[in-house]
């Protein structure tokens, strides 16, 4: 990150492309944190600290920062399984997220959810869902609650491009359009559903998918965080103002594999393709260069910012690593809210507290 020369240009008093300078710097700081956090997660996975699946978001940082940072506190975010950075963007503590990836008691779900199921109800971060497209109707339900209680919040629903071929997607968009629910459906279009190029399995383009439901669709450059942030501020205002749902084809690219089982370019895309994108479309580098060219960032501040991100990632790692595993008694908690009468677990095992 620290290999570019600072260009001398006059300071832009009004920030960059309509985004205030402090916001632009905050977006950079956030994206650096996501990158360093994910690199640390990758490292932790490699040494066996993280198990199961681990889907990294490296390369797609702007799609998290530029969207979620445009929200208000009361708004909801719901996502799929590639959601670490979205959780960070929503303000969840890196240490609490990392501890969840480690399956520790101090994780946001007490170690019961793991990488794919991050939740923070206080921050209205509603997961973390592992079935492709299944969170889309849930988002409509969150929107339904807002409309039902006549509140003024909005829902940001993330999905990958593969989700648009699921029935759940179409059913949910139809209902949201019928009932004018305050939901922004964001397709993080990174061109691949796992290892299958979207174009190979899809009859139409992603941005066309909401046309049938009359939901306004836009294409946003998801590698350009300022453009993303700007577009989402407008969309959020429209939806909050009662304009009904919106749909975004957010063009992005993942620099890593689908998951840690496919850590590099894989067999489904060429090394040249991936290298080219990393070189041309790294959202962090693009913003960094633009800030430097505008004279709003110097090498020293950048290095300080990056050092802080690395420190936070390391602290998260250490916190997670030092945290205890969940207490064994936690196996049977949170399956039901109330046990009440009768037997509810059918496995014939001894349980703390006995009975139900």
């Amino acid at each position: 990150m620290a290999d570019t020369k600072t260009k001398k240009t006059p300071k832009a008093a009004d920030g960059l492309r309509g985004v205030p300078t402090d916001t632009a710097l905050r977006l950079l700081r956030e994206m650096l944190l996501y990158r360093r956090f994910e690199e640390k997660a990758e490292e932790a996975y490699a040494i066996g600290k993280i198990g199961g699946f681990c889907h990294l978001h490296i390369g797609q940082e702007a799609a998290a920062a530029g969207t979620i940072l445009a929200l208000d506190e009361g708004d909801y975010v719901i996502s799929a399984y590639r959601e670490h950075t979205q959780a960070l963007a929503r303000g969840m503590e890196p240490s609490v997220i990392m501890a969840e990836l480690f399956g520790r008691a101090t994780g946001c779900s007490g170690g019961k959810g793991g990488s794919m199921h991050l939740f923070d109800v206080e921050r209205r971060f509603m997961g973390g869902h592992g079935i492709v497209g299944a969170q889309v109707p849930l988002a409509s339900g969150l929107g339904w609650k807002i409309r039902y209680r006549e509140e003024n919040d909005v829902v940001l629903c993330f999905m990958g491009d593969a989700a648009v071929n699921q029935g759940a997607f179409h059913e949910a968009l139809n209902m949201s359009a019928v009932w004018k629910l305050p939901v922004i459906y964001v397709v993080e279009n990174n061109e691949y559903g796992m290892g299958t190029a979207f174009s190979r399995v899809s009859a139409t383009e992603i941005h066309e998918r909401s046309c049938a439901y009359g939901i306004p669709s836009s294409i946003v450059d998801g590698q350009d965080v300022l453009a993303t942030y700007d577009a989402f501020r407008t969309l959020i205002d429209e939806v909050r103002g009662g304009g009904g749902p919106r749909y975004v084809d957010l063009r992005t690219y993942r620099f890593k594999g689908h998951s840690m089982s496919d850590p590099v370019s894989g067999t489904y895309r060429s090394k040249e393709e991936v290298d080219g994108k990393v070189k041309e479309a790294d959202p962090i580098r693009l913003l960094r260069d633009e800030l430097m060219e505008a004279g709003l960032l110097d090498q020293e501040s950048l290095e300080a910012m990056d050092a802080e991100a690395k420190k936070q990632a390391l602290e998260a790692f250490e916190f997670a690593d030092e945290s205890p595993l969940p207490d064994e008694g936690e196996l049977y908690t949170h399956v039901y809210a109330e046990l009440g009468h009768g037997r509810i677990f059918m496995d014939g095992r001894e349980r703390p507290g006995g009975g139900a």
């Binding site: 007490g110 019961k112 079935i131 109707p137 059913e171 949170h334 037997r343 139900a356």
Partner: protein
């Protein structure tokens, strides 16, 4: 106490719970303007308006998922499936989301939701519209499963299900909607989930069952009574939670049991219950527990074949005689 139908009892439960709690709403196909495909929601649109009684598109996965999302945000949806046969389309939302959200969020996210509608065999509706679906729901921890057999149970259990903080699959019996019975008209008549009901006391053999087949069991009991056999009929009322104490107490009293239900035998609810009875009451049993179930075939259309496929009072009588070595 008034004598009303099972259908009217459900309608009363919905009306009372919606009056009691503004977060309760009903959504499903035809629930509003059509008054409900089976008229369970008759008249509710006039009382509560289209904000709370909501006609959905025919998209079970979608509106079940919308309900789950609303429940995650704190509302208390009642999602009507026109029949549980169609709910199979929505199973992902029930099993992968409603049932698991509390657990995988470490207790952070609630999911108080009722999925309800008619279930079980009907009359000549053939394979896709005539099947018992309890097993699909009862298999997954995180969901509660309720199967009322009488109008009073229908009302008291539905009120409990709506008040319950967990997801409940509330499986009504399509063939019971017109059955009449005495139902308390008290607003707070609630039957807790997980409490079985001994519908008939007896000393010689226990029939364990739930839902519509409670009535089949009672018919069989009457026939056996004429032969001098005293039958106890235990209505489970809910399968999760399961009132194991009442089941075991009855089996230990009669020393013989028959399990009766409309579902398929293989890996069904009965398989679990028989397994439990033999593990926990083996020493009290004087004969192996026998099951009376739906034939292991899709439901046929032809009247005679359909009759053969379903559990009947005659088959229950035969099963009781078998465990009595008569």
């Amino acid at each position: 106490m008034a004598e009303i139908t099972y259908r009217e009892a459900l309608n009363e439960a919905l009306r009372e719970e919606m009056e009691r709690d503004p977060d309760v709403f009903l959504m499903g196909e035809e629930v509003a303007e059509y008054d409900g495909a089976y008229k369970v929601s008759k008249g509710l649109l006039d009382v509560f308006g289209d904000r709370r009684i909501v006609d959905s598109p025919i998209s079970e996965l979608g509106f079940a998922g919308l309900g789950v999302g609303a429940a995650m945000a704190g509302l208390k949806p009642v999602i009507e499936f026109m029949t549980f046969n169609f709910s199979i389309l929505a199973l992902d939302q029930v099993i992968n989301h409603a049932a698991k959200i509390r657990y995988m969020s470490g207790g952070q996210i609630p999911c108080s939701i009722v999925f309800r509608g008619p279930n079980g065999a009907a009359l000549q509706l053939s394979a896709q519209h005539s099947q018992a679906c309890e097993t699909y729901y009862v298999h997954a921890p995180g969901v509660k499963v309720v199967t009322p057999a009488t109008p009073a149970d229908a009302k008291g259990l539905l009120k409990a299900a709506i008040r319950d903080p967990d997801p409940v699959a509330f499986m009504e019996a399509e063939m019971l909607y017109n059955v009449k019975g005495e139902v308390p008209d008290d607003d707070d008549f609630v039957i807790p989930l997980g409490v079985a009901d001994v519908k008939r006391e007896g000393t010689d053999v226990t029939i364990l069952t739930h839902g519509k087949t409670v009535h089949v069991a009672l018919q069989a009991a009457q026939k056996l009574d004429k032969d001098g056999v005293s039958v106890e009929v235990v209505d489970l009322r809910s399968i999760r939670p399961l009132d194991v104490d009442t089941i075991l107490a009855s089996v230990k009293k009669t020393n013989r049991a028959v399990y009766l239900e409309e579902g398929w035998a293989f890996a069904g609810v009965g398989a679990q219950i028989v397994s439990m009875v033999q593990e926990e009451a083996f020493d009290w049993l004087d004969a192996p527990v026998v099951r009376v179930m739906q034939a292991d075939v899709p439901m046929p259309y032809a009247k005679n074949l359909e009759q053969m496929a379903k559990p009947s009072a005659e088959r229950v009588v035969a099963a009781c005689n078998r465990v009595l070595y008569r």
